[in-house]
Amino acid sequence: MKVLMKGNEALAEAAIRAGCRLFFGYPITPQNEIPEYLARRMPEVGGTFLQAESEVAAINMVYGAAGTGQRVMTSSSGPGISLKQEGISFLAGAELPCVIVNMMRGGPGLGSIQASQSDYFQATKGGGHGDYRIIVLAPGSVQELADMTVWAFELAEKYTTPVMILGDGTMGQMMEPVDLDTIPIKTGHSEFPWATTGCKDRPKRIINSLYLDATMLERHNQKLQRKYRLISEELPRAEAYHTDDAELVLVAFGTAARIARGAVDQGRANGLRLGLVRPITLWPFPGEFLLAATTGARKLLVVEMNTGQMVEDVRLVVEGRIPVHFHGRCGGMLPTVKDILAQIEEMGV
């Protein structure tokens, strides 16, 4: 049955259905409905909601809980996610599964509380110190936010890695119809050969990211890179819209992709052959998909709610084969269909 829910609340309920029984966080707008909802729901399902004394504490609680093999989540926005980077690096180094939600707001610094996509670099290029990546998913609707939350937990366990859901303030605050009945309810948690669950009658297990011996750390890094390579082969996902005959293909994710889709529809109504590629995984970036969907295109236009971040990955993929243009708004401002079409007219299709 469809219900009308805020993105933040749908995500939180989906986490409960996915078997997440541990949440550690610290408040920040525009994601506060996630902790608010879970503060009520966790006790109802025998889980633990804990408002930590800081984001740094929250992510380290996630680190500890993830080590036991239980499904655990934290959520924040821009400044709070920056504070969590040290812990995310530790989680990646120790190869622990967890889900981290970033409902992006405008930066840098405290910035604003309005929606933005300015944390793309931070999310997809590592974010913390060390040679690591985390899986980054970009939802495009409230339904997708809910479905993606379940997927995020599955991916985190499959690849023993932190997974980030990269939404934005608009996505978290808006209400849309969502069907949560389609999400199967998971109870209990899986057994993992690495989980520290008490070593009575079995050998000790150690979770650590410290390798003082250089040869050991190099070997550990190479192992991590093999995993990242596998993820890059198996996971990239994107959606194509009217790309078959498109002369100009827009590339956008999340909220910007919804607006870009509106521009494609309106442009097509005016006889322009426009298409859209919407990356759903931001890391791994769906490069091969993008190449295949733009073989007939003469120009690309990347639309983002920042000053140009994903556009760099798009340029890396097309390697100068076709010109890549950029349209961005930032600071909490959103692109509009009108402005996108005006730029397309200026560029000439």
Binding site: K2, L4, T29, P30, Q173, M175, R258, A263, T336
Partner: protein, 185 residues
């Protein structure tokens, strides 16, 4: 067909709920819907607002930049959003609190004594429902039957009386603009 509307007033006038009812009713009718609140900083006595889109097609930006209609519950809301309404759009304003008309000549203004009508309906807190009723009469964004279903869902725990007093206020608003000659334009 896209119906986009901004509902704006001060906190406590029920603008967010009225907006949710439109979205809920649109969903019941199988339409694409999106609702988004203002969540920015606002001074005391300032405006709270939300944007609602009801469409046959998937909704792009949920943020309503150029609404087809404005429901202004107080003067600051009219001042803030009158300029954003699309040409030929609707501006329904609460004449109980707003003692001026609509400045723009290219929109259609409807004054509504919403506070008094709510009192007449026996529901002094039903200003939002009066405004909503007028909007549905003038726009056809959703049917009244689906608003009733939405109310039944949202107020399930509060009992049928709450649904009835809200429907009564809604119909007061609906009838208040029924047959009224357009002002402005």
């Amino acid at each position: 067909m896209l119906h986009s509307v901004i509902l704006a007033g001060f906190g406590g006038q029920g603008v967010l709920l009225a907006g949710q009812l439109i979205a809920y009713a649109g969903m019941i009718e199988g339409k694409h819907v999106a609702w988004i609140p203002s969540y920015g900083p606002e001074m005391r006595g300032g405006t709270a607002h939300c944007g609602v889109s009801v469409s046959d097609d998937p909704i792009g930006s949920p943020v309503v930049e150029e609404p087809g209609a404005l429901l202004a519950f107080n003067l600051p809301s009219l001042e803030k959003f009158e300029g954003k309404v699309t040409q030929g759009g609707l501006v329904i304003y609460n004449a109980s609190l707003i003692k001026r008309g609509v400045y723009r000549k290219d929109v259609v203004g409807y004054p509504l004594l919403a506070n008094e009508l709510a009192v007449d309906a026996g529901n002094p807190r039903g200003t939002n429902m009066v405004m909503l009723g007028a909007y549905l009469m003038l726009s056809g964004a959703t049917g009244i039957g689906s608003i009733r279903q939405a109310l039944e869902k949202i107020f399930a725990s509060k009992g049928p009386e709450v649904v009835e007093i809200n429907m009564k206020a809604l119909l007061m608003g609906w009838r208040a603009v029924q047959g009224v000659v357009q002002k402005g334009a």
